[in-house]
Amino acid sequence: MSAQLLQSLLSGLTVGAIYALVALGFAIIYNASRVINFAQGEFVMIGGMAAAVFVDAGLPLPLSVVAAVGLGMAVGLLLEKLAVEPARGAPVVTLIIITIGASILLRGLAALVWGKKIRPLPAFSGDAPIVIGGTAGGATLLPQTLWVLGTTLAAVAALWWFFNRTLSGKAMLAVSHNRLAAQLVGISVRRVLLVSFGLSAALGALAGVLIAPISFAAWDVGVMLGLKGFAAAMLGGIGSGPGAVAGGLALGLIEALGAGYLSSAYKDVFAFVVLLAALVFLPNGFAGRGAAERV
């Protein structure tokens, strides 16, 4: 394998893992409420910005990371409590528009409170690149890449355990399958909705913290990451966990290989062309079950 190919693959996997985390956030909220949460990208921004601000304020890095994820989660819970829950009787489209409004609000607040400066976050374990492929012509990866991949893997495993082995997780799955039946057996749909926002906000913030040492944190990074995460979720089949992960990784690889071998000017174009093709030819994504509309 040539060094360039290996390098492109590594780059694609790193970015893809971040897209996967964002896509998982989309999937969790979609399952609980059929709402596409367009504020998902802002959770990523909040995670990265908060961690950078905390480190600047003198907090140790591990504590800053935990606090940033906690803050992201708190914002997610507040968003659900203050904006989504009061409108729970409203049609799904209304809720989606509420999340768009929330994303604009969050972005504005971040620019106001934290400023428009781009902020760096130190890498979790140094910047010395690791050479793989042996020879001097080999590819290199940063220790942070391993953190991104490892943490994403751990997060996916934890989610699998949560949804398949715990009562709360199963309750959330039940709501996603049939809301009315879940309610009839005594599951609190309101609580499920709250947990889903908290969980996906935490995932988004985690993605933001992981990527910040590689790409920096700024008040406006959420828009593009949110959009790419949404594309990944659609590619994998909206609402599917494994699909979100596969979609994220596929999107990252397509972008990196396209930029490396075809033309870097059309890097974003490849991603969205693939998304359009998927919507036309594979409307339910890789993992789509075929959402049959019952009449």
């Binding site: 060094a3 780059s11 694609g12 930029a259 890097k267």
Partner: protein
């Protein structure tokens, strides 16, 4: 009766006083103080206010006080047009300084030309002064000059096969186009031309492609914002041996902070203002940049930017022209601006002519190298 005559005398005295006070010189400004280009307009506005105040405290120009009419065009060409109309028709200004962005400037150009009003733009693009417009001048250096400066330095180090990597923003694309245009005449060959999107988080794929391109002797990143810092980090990660050049778009301490150790050895062209403290005392610009920096920072408690410096130069060139013309007559002031020679400003030494309404040459840029987390001048003056 006695009272009435007293009033009459008082009125007469006041009338005389008013007549003795000459009309102020009106300076019109339209700047992007808010909006996406606020980082340009904000220091420009502050600079104009500060120096109008200072000039007035020193007695004004031609024995007349200055009065500043400044409007916030918020980066919007349509607003800029409306405000310039107002400055011309209502405020009846004697000269125009402003237009933080190229879009705002170009919207004002037809109005200034039609009204016959001396206009000094603070925006970057070459189109403002090329082709030459009778009433329009500009103070900032252009990205074409940055390209030429960088290519000159590359050739000095023996690099003629150059790879280009640029972002998707307006600044990035304009600089890329200018660099491609002047590469041939500067004697370098562009062997790779990569780009990355706004908000991209990883550029190793593009850089790996550059690394795999045979014979690359130097790499130039035309970019603005966080992109160049990511490129710099990825560049070190891939251990590419060729020297890396950045553009004047990231000539700030912020870039060094973001890129960290990876920035070591990176070269970039920058205005003298950024290295005011490191300039040798013999440098022609040392005095003006050091005093501007000191006065601005003392007043506003924030770091100077080259953008505020452009406004300083614009105002000073107009006032200097008025002094030499001995009048504020618009046609004569215009001629005097065009005759500006050897004006030492924050942006460089300005020598205007009928063919050149910017008047800067490559000495306006200093080549810097990041060493030990700080700037070092590596200039051989050309």
């Amino acid at each position: 009766m006695a009272f009435r005559s007293l009033w009459a005398i008082a009125a007469l005295v006041f009338a005389c006083a008013a007549a003795a006070q000459p009309e102020p010189i009106r300076i019109g400004a339209f700047l992007s103080v808010t909006g996406p280009a606020a980082f340009l307009g904000d220091p420009e506005q502050k600079t104009l206010e500060l120096y109008v105040e200072k000039v007035n405290a020193a007695g004004g120009v031609l024995g007349r006080k200055l009065q500043l009419y400044a409007y916030d065009s918020a980066g919007d060409a349509e607003k800029a047009r409306a405000y310039v109309k107002r400055l011309i028709d209502q405020d009846k200004v004697d000269a125009l300084v402003g237009g933080s962005t190229t879009g705002e400037t170009m919207a004002a150009v037809p109005l200034a030309e039609a009204a016959g009003l001396p206009f000094i733009s603070l925006a970057g693009a070459v189109v403002i002064v090329e082709p030459v417009k009778k009433w329009v001048f500009k103070t900032p250096h252009t990205d074409r000059m940055a390209c030429e400066k960088i290519f000159t330095d590359m050739k000095r180090r023996g690099a003629t096969r150059v790879a280009l990597i640029s972002g998707a923003g307006g600044f990035d694309r304009s600089m890329r186009a200018e660099c491609l245009k002047v590469a041939g005449s500067a004697g370098v060959q562009i062997v790779a031309d990569e780009s990355y999107g706004a908000g991209d988080s990883d550029m190793t794929a593009q850089l790996a492609k550059i690394k795999a391109t045979p014979g690359v002797q130097a790499v130039l990143n035309a970019g603005f914002g966080q992109g160049p810092a990511i490129v710099t980090r990825n560049y070190r990660q891939l251990a590419i041996g060729a020297p890396l050049y950045q553009s004047h778009g990231v000539a700030s301490k912020q870039f060094v902070k973001l890129a960290g150790d990876s920035a070591e050895g990176v070269r970039l062209p920058a205005a003298a203002l950024l290295v005011a403290d490191t300039l040798p005392d013999a440098d022609a610009q040392k005095k003006v940049v050091a005093s501007y920096k000191r006065e601005y920072e003392a007043r506003f408690k924030q770091e100077v930017s080259t953008f505020g410096g452009h406004a300083y130069d614009g105002l000073m060139i107009v006032l200097d022209a008025m002094r030499r013309a001995g009048t504020t007559d618009k046609a004569r002031v215009r001629d005097a601006i065009e005759a500006t020679r050897g004006y030492v400003g924050t942006g460089g030494v300005v020598n205007m002519s009928a063919q050149d309404h910017m008047g800067l040459d490559l000495t306006a840029f200093r080549m810097l190298e990041v060493r030990g987390g700080d700037w070092q001048l590596v200039d051989f003056r050309n």
